[in-house]
């Protein structure tokens, strides 16, 4: 829909890394008892990706499942398919005690691209960003400076960040500050 307006409408910045707001990302919050194999199968069949372990992120193309807490997952999909996928999930999960809700509009998403991605994040998040401690297939639900955020690596030199929509502008400015030219750390 042409009326779609994300928090920053795709703003971008080039510094130590390239920072860019994603124009739209489909996201569905799922809560349930993931020790129930029937529930898990229902979810993974529709999500078309496997169940992640603790702090795990399973990605396949536009789909992904991110571990948020012992009873919460975040399902990634395209923005357009989120309402339809939600409908399918709700129908399929009808027999289970579970909660599925579309949160695509509740968030702002950013990508970081560049060799300094790990260090830019390490300026803002109390997370061990060293490759031996954090790599592809993992997600961190943490904070970036003063706001809640989650992030995962999209490759050796890239990451995606999710935060609340209302603080999208703060997040963008924060990432710009952390990626300011000349502020390389040279530690990671």
């Amino acid at each position: 829909m042409s009326d779609i307006a994300t928090a920053l409408n795709g703003a971008s910045f080039d510094g130590l890394v390239q920072v860019e707001e994603l124009r739209a990302q489909g996201m569905i919050t799922l809560r349930g008892d993931f020790s129930d194999s029937g529930l898990v199968k229902t979810i993974t069949d529709l999500a078309e990706v496997a169940l992640p372990g603790q702090r795990g992120a399973v990605m396949d193309g536009t789909r992904g499942l991110l571990w948020m807490s012992p009873d919460e997952l975040l399902l990634l999909c395209t923005y357009a398919e989120a309402p339809f996928l939600l409908g399918k999930l709700e129908a399929a999960l009808a027999g289970y005690h579970a909660l599925a809700v579309n949160v695509s509009d509740a968030r702002a998403c950013f990508t970081l691209q560049g060799a300094a991605t790990r260090e830019v994040l390490a300026k803002l998040a109390p997370v061990d960003m060293s490759p031996e401690s954090f790599g592809a297939g993992q997600v961190r639900r943490t904070r970036l400076a003063q706001v809640a955020a989650a992030f995962w690596l999209t490759g050796e030199e890239g990451a995606q960040i999710v935060c609340f929509r209302s603080v999208g502008e703060y997040m963008f400015n924060l990432l710009k500050t952390a990626a300011a030219p000349g502020s390389d750390v040279g530690f990671l």
Binding site: A5, H97, D105, R107, A145, V147, Y170, A178, P181
Partner: protein, 1006 residues
């Protein structure tokens, strides 16, 4: 005079020329100089004035322990006070001015204080400035502010143009200190395979050992440092950072380190300072030791310096402090200074050794160079004003009778060395007194403990009380091995490097020189140079009953301010223990607190400045509000329009216009900030009944109900409209500020008390943009958008429907907080702005008027609706507000129920909500109290109520208010008096029903 020597200076580049100014004078130095070494090279002995007596002060030390050489650095927006000249690297264009001088450094009028110094003893401020009380503000405080204090505060109107940042790092082993001990410890830990970070506060590696000279593994100290650095750099698991100080050690292996990136080269890009927030497996502090001054009369006169500092300036910077230097000591190490000076071609007229038997091999070496050594002697007194001219020598055992007067222009003193135990102590490491060295050293049996009770800090080298190079290296290798092992690294390590030591004679503690110094001498024997505390002050404090070292510190100011007693600590408490007749370990030390030396405020703030000072939460319509005159109100971290100002309008006029337009035609409110929490599950109804005071489980699908939430103590916490979405699902609206808090409250009860209830919650506040469409034309404008039936019958009051409006997927609620016909329309947030624009377009024919929070408040107050935070303040229960109708009597339990049955909660004397109308139509001041007869036991006027909300109602054209009043609902029509802000003027107000507008509710039910 102090000057640059023709040769030596291992750290400076003599081919370079660096220009700087001090006190307005142009000077030059070399690359590699510190500001202190450059000042000395320019014969600038006098660098400031003391804190209390404004006595002339010169450089005493060569490192972070420097108490005197504090300068104002930079100008204008880069002005920074209290910069230590000894740790400030020289750069072209550096501008420094001395501190605490008036009118000038050379002639300071405050120096008259020295004539009154007999009056300015310990506790002077406490004794002098007590009475009369009225003098404090106008006489004492201005006087003290003018005469005391160090650097000038930066101009608050300027903004620091530099940037700062934080960095989170995680390592197995952090080694603090890049001297030989730190290098050895890092090497051992690195070999074992641990992930090591080695940090050094100065630009240079190797510490004192390189200055003092020694053979390690058959190499010169410098060669050993270079080869060890090479080995460390070759290890992929080891990182080296210089200009980075270990600032503080905290619980659970958390360490703050302060990296100064561009202080030495302001032209460089990037942040000025970086604060490293490090999670560490094991910390090794290899922080070395600090030399102690000796307390003799006149030991604060410029030219009296620590012996090792004199050596540092000569070896590192090629600077001579004076042509003739008297060395005074109680240990062998100071002989190295005498030898270094003599070998540089300078004169050492005498080494004054307090020990009867003198020193060991180094003494023999000094004598061999032709230096006169007098043992069992001390300095009775230093002569000189702005610099040393001569010293009187006496017997150390006596009272100060002069044996000789020795002309000289510098005095190098050494009272022994104290290990830098600060970082060990920050997080609870205990100390033990070392008799032989006369210092406190870390007690390895009482270390700082980590989360599992494990040792989390190890100490290496002279910081650990090891004062000989061979044992320093052995100790460091041990610390490196133990730390690496504790961090789980078990690789093959090589033996510690081996050093050859010169045998040294034992030190003899000297706490006062001479030991029987009379009062006149003690009055001039400084312990704390920065805070002007003398031996006589600490003795007086002890005499007056200050037995605790912490009390003495505060009474005398010993060990306070920017250096925190790095030089004065041990001498001060030894003086105190002598005065008390107690042993030094019994007296103990004051508390070591982070940071080790001051760190910049900028580094602490990090990136949080300017537009990222604080997150501001913005709704999807924020930009429209901004572009249309929004006067902002902070609500939590949100910014909401308080009112939209049209050109020429006052805020009051704008609010007035918005209320009238909404009541007569059509208003729009951006209600996106209201909290929206989904509660779902087979036990959701039961859970909702516990959360809310009223019944929510029986709410029909498609309907809405207003509900109240209380804390378990019964106090009203939040309110809002609840919608039943389906059989298992409820949607709870909360207040703007309540969304996160209430969601957390729900989760807490679900996770801690009702963990077996099948309920899930989700906070979807930000998923939806919500617009309140309010006023007699609300339905018309929505019908104009088209797509769903919004008629009175299809969507009655307090119901909701899903549908579309103008093609937007919406959920429409028929709810009203204004008393008007009103809908709240929720759309996905990314469509919020487009939907808002569509409503403005469609509403044009009704003169649609966006309104802000103040208009919202007035309209709800006209209807007598309460507001969380106005009518409630954490002490108000729903019953106080006449909300008994929303408290279920049928339910067995809900949060707050039992609390509301307590005697104080059911007390008939609790103030209750009423409406208030001033008899003259004026608006009551917010929070005003209704007065009652008489005074309470504190002499305050008795009260019988207070205003909770008050507005000028444009609809009724008079002041309206709500308030809590004693027996209020029973006193309808009675007139009571409210006190204005002055406490004297009274305003009469009549007690009325809080519903001022449309009491029958006809307007909203159309």
């Amino acid at each position: 005079m102090s000057t640059r020597l023709a040769k030596s200076g291992r750290l400076i580049d003599r081919s370079s020329r660096v220009e700087f100014t001090f006190d307005g004078k142009r000077m030059s130095g070399h690359k590699g100089d510190t500001l202190a070494s450059a000042l000395l090279a320019n014969d600038q002995m006098l660098v400031g004035r003391s804190f209390k007596y404004h006595r002339p002060r010169g450089i005493v030390a060569s490192g972070g322990e420097e108490p005197n050489a504090l300068v104002n650095l930079g100008q204008g927006d880069r002005h920074e006070p209290n910069a230590r000249a000894t740790t400030t690297e020289l750069f072209n264009g550096l501008t420094a001015t001395p501190q605490n001088v008036w009118p000038s450094l050379d002639y300071d009028i405050g120096a008259v204080n020295k004539y009154a110094s007999r009056l300015l003893t310990a506790g002077f401020y406490y004794k002098m400035f007590m009475y009369p009380r009225a003098f404090w503000k106008h006489v004492y405080e201005p006087f003290i502010r003018q005469s005391a204090g160090l650097g000038k505060a930066p101009n608050p109107e300027t903004s620091d143009p530099d940037t700062y940042e934080h960095f989170y790092a995680f390592v197995d082993v952090l080694v603090i200190g890049g001297g030989v001990a730190g290098l050895q410890a890092a090497k051992t830990a690195g070999e074992a395979g641990a992930k090591v970070l080695l940090i050094e506060q100065t630009p240079d590696w190797g510490g004192r050992t390189v200055v003092d000279g020694a053979d390690i593994d058959g190499m010169s100290a410098q060669d050993w440092v270079n080869s060890t650095l090479q080995a460390l750099e070759a290890m992929p698991n080891v990182t080296l950072r210089n200009r980075m100080m270990g600032a503080g050690v905290y619980d659970h292996g958390y360490v703050l380190a302060y990296e100064r990136l561009t202080d030495h080269a302001p032209e460089m890009k990037g942040p000025r300072h970086r604060l490293w927030r490090i999670r560490v497996g094991q910390t090794i502090t290899a922080t070395g030791a600090i030399e102690r001054p000796i307390s003799f009369a006149g030991n604060d006169i410029p030219g009296v310096m620590l012996a090792a500092a004199v050596r540092d300036y000569s070896v590192n910077y090629g600077v001579s402090v004076g042509d003739r230097t008297v060395v005074v000591t109680n240990n062998d190490d100071a002989y190295r200074t005498a030898i270094t000076l003599k070998q540089s071609g300078l004169d050492v007229p005498m080494i004054v050794d307090a020990r009867e038997t003198g020193g060991g091999a180094l003494m023999d070496q000094a004598r061999g160079l032709g230096i006169r050594v007098e043992t069992g002697c001390g300095i009775a007194k230093v002569h000189g004003g702005k610099r040393v001219t001569s010293v009187d020598i006496c017997k150390q055992a006596g009272e100060g009778g002069m044996l000789w007067n020795i002309p000289c222009d510098a005095v190098a003193m050494s009272g022994g060395w104290s290990p830098v135990v600060h970082l060990w102590s920050h997080c609870g490491g205990k100390l033990t007194w070392d008799e032989a060295g006369a210092f406190f050293r870390p007690d390895p049996t009482r270390p700082p403990l980590g989360d599992a009770g494990q040792t989390m800090v190890h100490v290496a080298g002279s910081a650990n009380g090891e004062m000989l190079l061979r044992t320093v290296l052995e100790d460091a290798a041990r610390a490196g091995e133990v730390a690496a092992l504790a961090a789980g690294a078990t690789g093959q390590i090589s033996d510690a490097s081996v050093a050859a030591d010169t045998a040294e004679a034992p030190l003899e503690p000297v706490w006062l020189m001479p030991q029987g110094a009379h009062y006149g001498l003690r009055l001039k024997s400084w312990l704390d140079f920065q805070n002007d505390v003398k031996v006589s002050d600490v003795q007086l404090a002890a005499h007056e009953g200050y037995e605790s070292v912490e009390h003495t510190k505060r009474y005398t100011t010993l060990g306070m301010a920017t250096d925190q007693g790095k030089l004065s600590n041990i001498n001060g408490l030894a003086t105190l223990s002598n005065a008390l007749g107690a042993e030094i370990p019994k007296v103990g030390t004051t508390t070591f607190r982070p940071p080790y030396t001051p760190i910049s405020m900028g580094a602490i703030a990090g990136e949080a400045r300017g537009d990222v000072f604080q997150p501001i939460r913005k709704t999807p319509m924020y930009d429209w509000h901004e572009a249309n005159g929004a006067h902002w109100e902070p609500v939590g971290h949100w910014r909401r329009p308080y009112a939209y100002l049209k050109s020429g309008e006052t805020i009051h006029q704008a609010v007035h216009r918005e209320v009238t337009a909404t009541r007569t035609s059509l208003g729009l409110l951006d209600a996106s900030t209201l909290g929206k929490i989904i509660v779902k599950g087979p036990d959701a109804g039961r859970f909702m009944d516990m959360m809310y005071t009223n019944m929510m489980s029986n709410l029909k699908v498609g309907k809405c109900r207003y509900g109240l939430m209380c804390s378990e103590n019964g106090f009203l916490s939040d309110d809002g409209v609840v919608a039943r979405i389906d059989e298992n699902t409820w949607l709870c609206h909360t207040t703007t500020g309540g969304a996160d808090r209430i969601h957390a409250h729900m989760e807490e009860w679900l996770q801690t008390e009702w963990w077996d209830w099948k309920v899930y919650t989700a906070n979807i506040t930000e998923q939806l943009a919500q617009v309140a469409v309010v006023g007699p034309n609300a339905r018309k404008v929505l019908e104009k958008l088209g797509g769903m039936d919004l008629s009175k019958d299809t969507l009655p009051f307090m119901e909701w429907r899903d549908g579309t409006l103008a093609g937007f997927p919406v959920r429409a609620y028929r709810i009203s907080f204004s008393g008007e016909l009103s809908y709240e329309i929720a759309v996905p947030a990314n469509l919020g702005r487009a939907f808002w624009d569509k409503l403005l377009e469609a509403g044009a024919e009704y003169k649609v008027t966006p309104y802000g929070t103040e208009c919202l408040h007035i309209m709800r107050a006209e209807k007598g609706f309460i507001m969380i935070g106005d009518e409630t303040d954490g002490t108000v229960i729903p019953q106080d507000l006449g909300l008994n109708w929303a408290i279920s009597k049928k339910k067995e339990d809900f949060l707050g129920k039992r609390a509301q049955l307590r005697s104080h909660m059911t007390d008939q004397k609790r103030w209750k909500l009423v409406g208030l109308e001033t008899t003259d139509g004026s608006t009551l001041p917010d929070g005003a109290y209704a007065v009652a007869d008489g005074n309470n036991e504190n002499g305050q006027r008795n009260t019988q109520g207070r205003v909770t909300s008050t507005y000028h109602s444009p609809t009724l054209n008079k002041g309206i208010a709500m308030g809590l009043v004693l027996n209020g609902p029973d006193r309808m029509g009675e007139v009571i008096e409210f006190a204005m802000d002055d406490g004297e003027t009274m305003v009469a107000a009549k007690i009325v029903t809080p519903v001022f507008y449309d009491p029958e509710g006809e307007k909203q039910n159309v």
